[in-house]
Symmetry: C2
Subunit: 548 residues, 2 copies
């Protein structure tokens, strides 16, 4: 592809931004009664209102032209049909096959991957039902009560998020997630558990991930300290991996290894066997519903026209703010306490996918790519960081998400939640003028200097953009659709920016340097000289390390 | 103050930025062997290395000149001596008095506040000891096993963070924190609790916070459903508030109201009676140690020369990146699993304090203020968002924090953690050149086109700045110092930017609009017309709300 910033579509958007920048959303709404109807749409269980964005019909026309100039429709087709869209690793990114629901084949190099996918799903069903029903027994003959997933990154964030969103402690098993190599994570988790009734799921694609294997070995030590006989390991440890040899070497029965494939990226792996803890927590039927919801979004993404395509619209709006308004962040604000881990998962999906500074063919990018995704559940954020959203200087586009119906209805709580959920995007958009503040302060009995002193501090510029996503209830299907929505949105942006959304070379250098530093922390000489800061810190630490 | 961006110091920094921008940190280290010694310092339990910043001695000289031009020393003195630094609300911000440790007075309008401070600390000690020892009994005569703190924003984030960092489930009480008005938060917390052994701490400055009072009333309903007699409420509910009347109206014995004062801002309130759940979790002696650590940082901040003053240096470095490199975010990366809530607390401190777009005297600011604070515990982040830190396009200054010694030592875990902790800032700083990548790929046996294809994707530009903060162990004193460090850093930036760090008018508009929307959700007519988007969303929701 030619340089993005030299395309006609890009130049037109830059021109157009000068026309849009001075317009206030208040006025755009005032002069266009059809704005909400035109700038909203339903896809499966999700309703999106994007009318509170700093756009006009022309903006969308130009953004869609940019998408076409980037060959977005072709790339969407390449993604779904198993092309090696991950060019640097020469791999497909076929997570959509994991949630493919009908009986048509999904070909990868001419071979249908679906028989393998279904085989592992069947294995997950049998295993999760056996553990959940109590048929599966630990080494003392007791049923399993607690499951500890040991994994990191994609082998942790996705499953942990779905379990906390959907489980609500109702199932027969308690799920725990250990990821950090900090020993506190494992130690504090195990403190309350009984080895005879604990099942460990060790999740690592290569089965060599440093953190995961160290945690897995410490967990095995803890287990054997009570169980004694290493042959018991097979009843209490199962693996999710692509590397059978390493799994067997650990002591895990290969019959209890759950496979996935090199065309499943870590951050898209919750749909694969990496989702095993989800199946254990909520049962395989609801895991299937999760896949169905994602599949509905896949179908919508693949077949809807760009102008009525939810991931496409969200992706292009992101490009609009990142590249034409200089926004470096994007806030995701779910008004659902169960979604308190949602942001962390999407943060990985977005930031690992779009944190790239070369194009697919290796040229330096000529514009900003990616953004920092952050946020958290409302209404909590309103009492923490919303001050900066309302009166701060940076432009921060935000997505507000909420279920219309609560899963745990309690008096007036959900109506109060929804009233806040509706009020915040309204406040961000309309703001409050000096005239409005003046009237309010006068009504409150303030006079003269007091009014003048407070007035500027109590004004809100407004014109701060947001999307609103509504759904009936946060069930498995809806959550599946939501996650897939953000996955595809991220892909859309990667296509526009001409970057590879599916590799992550940026994590390698730190790993390499850590290996050297680990041996130096243990007293070995440096293999290569460090800068003075790293050496100085290493000395500082070494002098103060407790003796082993 | 005159317009910041028209000062001599500002202009000099702008000039200087052009000189610094092309310099690589690798080269700065190579040509200056004393860089680490010069750009590092100890304050109390904290060691800061700031040598991996894109600065030279001249940068610091110019930043310090800006600080002096902003009258920073005078403002520090005003803060500590109880001046009404919160101009819009005409209040002092005397959180430093809460951790004042010697017997000298702290005057506010000529009156020593310390007798009041000590009276409440004594009350907290008596009460927490009585509950922890089991002397305090519930209505059935059983001791308390679970404490539920109900509060939001500053009445939640600070205490919850300190408890999760220091408690580690060792004490006699289990602590729970409910903040969100989403009924799931309270319902799922109460599901496992026994009313007869549960104590509620209702924390709200005004005792009218919508979320907190609704949660408190629902908690009281849950309690009375079993306890029956409303007179039992007094044994199971205590309050932290400034409003006695409201507290009594709720049914709480005023003897069990823990007072604080209007000179304690919400985001600085964990040092006050808002810290009661901390005292209940870890005991009053360790709460005292927390105050002592904060006080050490206060003394350092008040009395150290600007050039060797940790909060001042961190604050100015933040200004450097925000205003001269266009950074909109700041990452905080503690390598300690117990600190997984640290970022959320500091996020509130920073974003609520600096999310302002008018100066103290009400003029629009002429430069960016504030930034989005985000992050989370390492090593987890390395497998999630670090890709964008290493190879993304935006400049993201980062703070790396770690304890040299683990509180829960477990085999090799802590050394592995520390090796990663040291490696990441090194990797961000030095990067990896094309030549280095080429050698590596050749060694790995790659050839010709394969090397050329991969090369650009595996390069790291480096030159990405970070601070490193080391401390021996995460104990109460150290955590106190760390929190106070970020509080004062935030104050330093507010002084440079000439904004009020202590008000938060930006949260008001959303609250007002939510009131109207709540009555409309319940079927009342609109008091004022909404924009088409808000009306449309309201309709969409109303049609789908389950009947009450």
């Amino acid at each position: 592809m030619s340089d993005l910033t030299r395309t006609t579509a890009w130049a037109a958007l830059q021109q157009h931004q000068h026309a849009i920048a001075p317009l206030h959303l208040r006025d755009l709404f005032a002069r266009d009664p059809g704005r909400f109807e035109r700038f909203s749409l339903q896809a499966g269980p999700l309703f999106l209102d994007y009318s509170k964005n700093r756009i006009t019909d022309e903006t969308l026309t130009l953004l869609l032209a940019l998408a076409r100039e980037s060959q977005l429709p072709e790339w969407i087709e390449r993604l779904f049909r198993g092309d090696r869209v991950n060019g640097t690793e020469r791999r497909a990114a076929l997570h959509t096959a994991l949630r493919h629901r009908d009986h048509s084949p999904v070909l990868l190099d001419g071979t249908d991957v679906m028989p393998d996918v279904r085989r592992v799903l069947d294995q997950m069903r049998r295993f999760s039902e056996s553990v959940r029903s109590g048929e599966w027994r630990g080494y003392t003959g007791q049923p399993i009560t607690d499951v500890v997933n040991i994994g990191i990154g994609g082998s942790d964030l996705g499953p942990a998020m779905v379990v906390s969103a959907l489980d609500a402690d109702c199932g027969p098993l308690r799920l725990h997630f250990v990821s950090n190599v900090d020993g506190a994570d494992l130690s504090l988790t195990l403190r309350r558990l009984n080895p005879a009734q604990t099942l460990f799921v060790i999740a690592s694609k290569t089965f060599t991930t440093q953190e995961t294997l160290l945690n897995a070995r410490s967990a095995r030590d803890w287990f054997l300290a009570q169980a004694g006989n290493p042959s018991h390991v097979a009843r209490h440890f199962v693996a999710v991996s692509t590397h059978r040899d390493e799994v067997v070497r650990f002591g895990i029965d290969p019959a209890h290894m759950f496979e996935f494939w090199d065309w499943v990226g870590g951050r898209y792996s919750l749909w694969s066997a990496i989702g095993l803890p989800i199946a254990l927590a909520i049962g395989m039927d609801r895991f299937d519903a999760l896949l169905t919801g994602a599949n509905e979004m896949d179908e919508h993404f693949r077949h809807s026209p760009l102008a009525r395509n939810m991931p496409v619209l969200l992706g292009l709006l992101g490009v609009w703010y990142t590249n034409f308004f200089g926004a470096q962040t994007h806030a995701i604000l779910p008004y659902d306490q169960g979604m308190h881990r949602f942001v962390s998962h999407i943060q990985q999906v977005v930031m690992e996918s779009s944190g790239k500074n070369v194009t697919r063919d290796g040229r330096p990018v000529s514009c900003a790519t990616g953004s920092v995704v952050w946020g958290g559940p409302g209404t909590n954020g309103q009492h923490a960081y919303f001050q900066l959203l309302h009166q701060g200087t940076p432009l921060i586009p935000a997505d507000f998400l909420a279920p219309i119906e609560s899963r745990t209805p309690l008096g007036e709580h959900h109506r109060v939640l929804l009233s806040n959920f509706l009020a915040q995007p309204e406040a961000l958009m309309r703001g409050k003028t000096a005239q409005e503040v003046r009237v309010e302060l006068e009504r409150a009995g303030l006079k003269g200097d007091d009014i003048e002193r407070l007035l500027p501090h109590r004004c809100f510029s407004g014109n701060r953009p947001s999307n609103t996503l509504l759904f009936q209830k946060l069930d498995a299907r809806t959550l599946g659709a939501l996650i897939a929505l953000y996955e595809h949105k991220t892909f859309v942006q990667s296509v526009v920016w001409d970057i590879n959304a599916f590799d992550q070379w940026g994590v390698e250098l730190g790993k390499q340097l850590a290996r050297d530093l680990l041996s130096e922390l243990s007293g070995m000489p440096a293999r290569a000289p460090h800068d003075a800061s790293t050496s100085g810190l290493l000395d500082h630490v070494r002098k103060r390390l407790p003796s082993a």
